[in-house]
């Protein structure tokens, strides 16, 4: 295959909000122009076999686009969840498409995988199938990484990266996240329901974002790159990560153990993200959410937490 130099319509990618774009548009603009080829596209009509039980509408691609394309000429596998269809949740077919992609990537061993998360977690109406699909994806991610595959998560969609999606993200080689991106296991409403509005007011969106949002995750080192909310920025983040990820081995898991233990020790008693940021030596921690992207990136780099070799 002849490497085509970056012919992406960078201008469109630069002016398109990743947060707002559809799964397909994200991929079209993220990859080199015209290079996206879908596997089991919508015309195959591989819909969920379960939604009809609940008299709910199906989507032809079951809410996930998978395929391959090129990034600066080099081949990549891609998967993008559509966060607007059932909250991007994992169902049987949705999950199986990603599992198949990851298993192929493991066998090939050299082609990186980009996962554009946009999910509330398990799809309620097929909860058992969805939960298991997530377990299979986690396993497939680790098997692929073990075989040398770089797996990069890009998180900036409107449904965030919740539930099992958060666990899969935790299994990836590296993550890029934008300000509107969120990564967590339990959603804000779930916490409020379980703990009461005094502990967590899910309608206080500033609280939600500073607890789970992209900036906090970047400062914690849970994500390695902070992207501005454009598709072009995520493209550049993906390229940067592909270029910088090293090989996976047991030492990384040991390093992750140390990294997470250190986090618990330092911040385990903090009540709020602002306390954590303050403990990191940030002078006006309460102003972090308002920082523009360039200033925030400079700050995050100065704090210097990353998980690149420790995950």
């Amino acid at each position: 295959m002849i490497a085509t130099k970056d012919i992406a319509p960078a201008e469109r990618a630069r002016s398109t909000s990743f947060n707002e774009a559809s799964a397909r548009t994200r991929l079209e603009l993220l990859l080199d122009a015209g290079s996206l080829v879908e596997f089991i596209g919508p015309e195959q009509r591989e819909i969920s076999p379960h939604l009809k039980i609940f008299d709910l509408p199906e989507q032809f691609d079951d809410g996930i686009v998978i395929g391959h394309g090129r990034l600066d000429g080099a081949p990549v596998f891609v998967a993008a969840q559509e966060g607007r269809f059932m909250g991007g949740a994992f169902g049987e077919v949705h999950g199986a498409k990603l599992t198949g992609l990851l298993r192929a990537a493991r066998e090939i061993g050299t082609i990186p995988v980009l996962i554009l998360f946009d999910t509330g977690g398990v799809r309620l109406q097929e909860a058992n199938a969805g939960e298991l699909a997530i377990a299979e994806i986690m396993r497939a991610v680790m098997e692929a990484r073990n075989a040398g595959v770089k797996i990069i998560g890009l998180i900036g969609g409107r449904s965030g990266c919740y539930g099992g999606g958060g666990l899969i993200a935790g299994c990836c080689s590296a993550l890029a996240v934008s300000e509107p991106g969120r990564i967590a296991v339990s959603g804000p409403e779930v916490i409020e329901t379980n703990r009461g509005v005094e502990e967590f007011d899910s309608r206080d969106r500033a609280l939600v974002w500073r607890t789970m949002g992209g900036k906090h995750r970047r400062l914690l080192g849970a994500a390695d790159v902070f992207a501005d909310d454009t598709v072009q920025d995520f493209r550049e983040a993906a390229l940067e990560l592909i270029g910088s990820i090293g090989a996976f081995d047991l030492d990384r898991l040991k390093a992750e153990q140390v990294r997470l233990a250190d986090r618990l020790r330092r911040f385990g008693a903090c009540e709020d993200a602002i306390d954590i940021w303050t403990a990191e030596g940030i002078a006006h921690a309460e102003a972090v959410p308002e920082l523009p992207a360039d200033q925030f990136i400079a700050l995050a780099n100065r704090i210097g937490r990353a998980s690149r070799d420790a995950r």
Partner: protein, 105 residues
């Protein structure tokens, strides 16, 4: 859910060479339209699966106007509808025709 199907004879074949295209997403008040170039040039079909039951006559009117206006010969439109408003349906159908008229796969 309700299934609806419309078949039309049309004046002319739709522009473009692309074999299929997809616009929209299935969500509340929204819909996806999958358009495929799979029919003879003088035919058009629209197949709908909708969450909003009992609006067959509105769909008929929307599809009639659409076919009259765009003459989408050779195209099959498959719709999954999350209860979109008629104007949104018209817009997505028009977007689908535009997208499949582009060059590409």
């Amino acid at each position: 859910m309700e299934d609806l199907s419309f078949q039309h004879q049309v004046r002319a074949r739709a522009d473009g060479t692309r074999q299929s295209a997809l616009v929209g997403v299935v969500a509340s008040g929204n819909l996806e339209v999958l358009v495929e170039r799979v029919l003879p040039d003088a035919q058009c079909s629209v197949v709908v699966r909708t969450a909003a039951v009992g609006f067959g006559d509105v769909w008929t009117a929307v599809v009639d106007d659409f076919v009259e206006r765009f003459s989408p010969g050779g195209l099959k439109f498959s719709i999954n509808d999350g209860g979109a408003r008629p104007d949104t349906v018209s817009l997505r159908l028009a977007q689908a025709v535009r997208l499949i008229a582009e060059n590409g796969q």
